[in-house]
Symmetry: C2
Subunit: 338 residues, 2 copies
């Protein structure tokens, strides 16, 4: 029958990160200043591209995690501002390189940098931002935070390479998919959260709880993203729906749909994802298979389960307005579906 | 008349880096071990590509600088091994990204990684190596060395972006060219040399002398490279002669040839470098203009002058076999022309 998956749930109050935004407001102002100054360069193209991305309306969720986690532990210095800006630069560099690798045309509802300035500039400006990120970390002076963020940087790239290897291979397993999103997305959320208690010298249990929170939140975030690619609308998402299908990306909705679908669907998935031959009507057909097999609903359920894990990790942290706001951030990430 | 530039000078003894190789031998063995282990990953593609590059016979000049400079100041720890490996990883990451940006087909006489594994993998494996480089630096634990190498990382990318902006613009000035090669090449030589005395805690004057040596050596090295692109042979160089002409790169030989050449040559340079329309016989014609105008000879002379600067900087360092060997490295870089 193919009942429609209830991506839109009725809620009395829409989930919001407003409390997180308010609590980190003055810190984020300093982060934004630092970002703009460190995205500068005498080489004109660099600030041009960097500002295009930086001003294009990302939610800055990752740097807010760093600030909130440091504040939660009563950190009194200003190193969290530098680390938060570093985290955002690492993320921005990844976006620039991703768009080149994925041959994306759009990013956050705008033309991707590589369409405006070319692949070459996108690669090099990404490298520049990464270098600036590490310089900012050095300025903060915490070797332990540097270790966490440098590791994340290597792991992210590893995840992207893994994804490249899995792309266009419809035999990709669920386990491999989870490894990819843990590395390419969740590792940076985890690092962004963990450096907060590290700066505040809050001890191993605090670090580990903050890290677990970030990791679970990042996994939920990516699962939601991958569900939205088959269920959101382009204007909400700031990117074209169906991008993953066109790019041959093997995400959880696809893996579940292939595993549970009819044998006769395999030729369809092979043509779309391995042969990269996506035709008019294919996206609608993919969504109908995903709906019929419960692939989308179960991707969403998986995201909610990681959301629960993230909230459980928060329970191990000191109560207060910051913990409260970080809990709302979990709801917010998942509510992008609703 | 177009007299042939004496690129080949007769010498009684050919310049060699054998003494530098011998002095840093045991350290370089440790560096090579570390490089191989840190180029590993569970993601198959990463060690495959990394080893392709790492085993493809680079001279490892940069990490040898780090080892020799640390030894010269009697450094007794093993941090120089980690920093030397980091420097080589930074260099390797740059090569991977450069080949993508330049659309190069060959690297050190082998097919470029991007031709074997694609641009996407080259971008991402470069990112991975950069992340691993920073992790190794953190393991060494010197924030000051981290600062120097992180700065170099940003400056290199800045230089590459600057070069991209100058490419295909025959109005590029000599000053702009010098800025580009200082950033994209010499900055890493300078950083590789400077971290030696930093590790050994040898004081500001030692740092500054080591840095000046590396910077001047790097400038000489790049000038020689740019001259060789119009005067070496493909088999010596491991890359195709004439690459720079085909890629529209504005190097010193070109800048001098344009400035000193006939007005009637401008159309030729515009067609080759700005319109990227390089035809049969154009390389020979370019070389004949460069020879007639003394553009190649003066590029070589400029390289020699920076070689003299590098040797002068060495005079500010403690005498001994390491200083001796570093002096021979200057001759070696310039003797690639002979």
């Amino acid at each position: 029958m193919g009942a429609v998956v209830p991506l839109r749930e009725s809620r009395s109050e829409p989930a919001s990160i407003q409390n997180l935004v308010d609590l980190t407001g003055s810190g984020m102002e300093a982060v934004n200043q630092l970002i703009l100054s460190k995205a500068g360069s005498n080489v004109d193209l660099i600030p041009e591209i960097a500002r295009h991305l930086i001003s294009s309306g990302g939610k800055r969720l990752r740097p807010m995690l760093t600030l909130a986690m440091a504040d939660l532990f009563g950190y009194a210095g200003d190193g969290h501002v530098g680390l938060a800006a570093s985290v955002e630069f690492m993320h921005t560099a990844t976006l620039l390189h991703d768009d080149v690798v994925d041959e994306s045309d759009m990013r956050r509802g705008k033309l991707a940098a590589r369409k405006l300035w070319g692949n070459q500039a996108s690669v090099l400006v990404g490298d520049y931002l990464l270098g600036q990120a590490f310089k900012m970390m050095v300025d903060v002076g915490s070797l332990e935070a540097l270790r966490i963020l440098a590791s994340a940087s290597a792991v992210i790239a590893e995840g992207e390479v893994m994804q490249l290897g899995a792309a266009q291979d419809i035999e990709t397993t669920e386990e491999r998919y989870m490894q990819v999103i843990e590395a390419k997305t969740a590792a940076l959320f985890a690092a962004a959260a963990e450096v907060g208690p590290v700066l505040a010298d809050a001890g191993d249990e605090a670090r580990s709880a903050a890290r677990d929170y970030g990791m679970a939140l990042g996994l939920a975030f990516q699962l939601v993203d991958d569900a939205l690619d088959y269920g959101g609308s382009a204007s909400d998402l700031g990117k074209d729906i169906g991008d993953d299908l066109r790019e041959g990306k093997i995400t959880l909705p696809v893996i579940l749909a292939i595993r549970r679908g009819e044998a006769s669907d395999r030729a369809f998935w092979t043509r779309c994802l391995e042969d990269r031959d996506v035709r008019e009507g294919d996206l609608a057909h993919a969504i109908s298979i995903m709906t019929a097999t419960g692939a989308l609903a179960d991707t969403v359920a998986r995201a909610r389960a990681f959301g629960d894990e993230a909230r459980a990790a928060l329970e191990r942290l000191p109560a207060g307005p910051h913990r409260e706001a970080l809990g709302e951030a979990v709801d917010f990430c998942i509510a992008r579906l609703s």
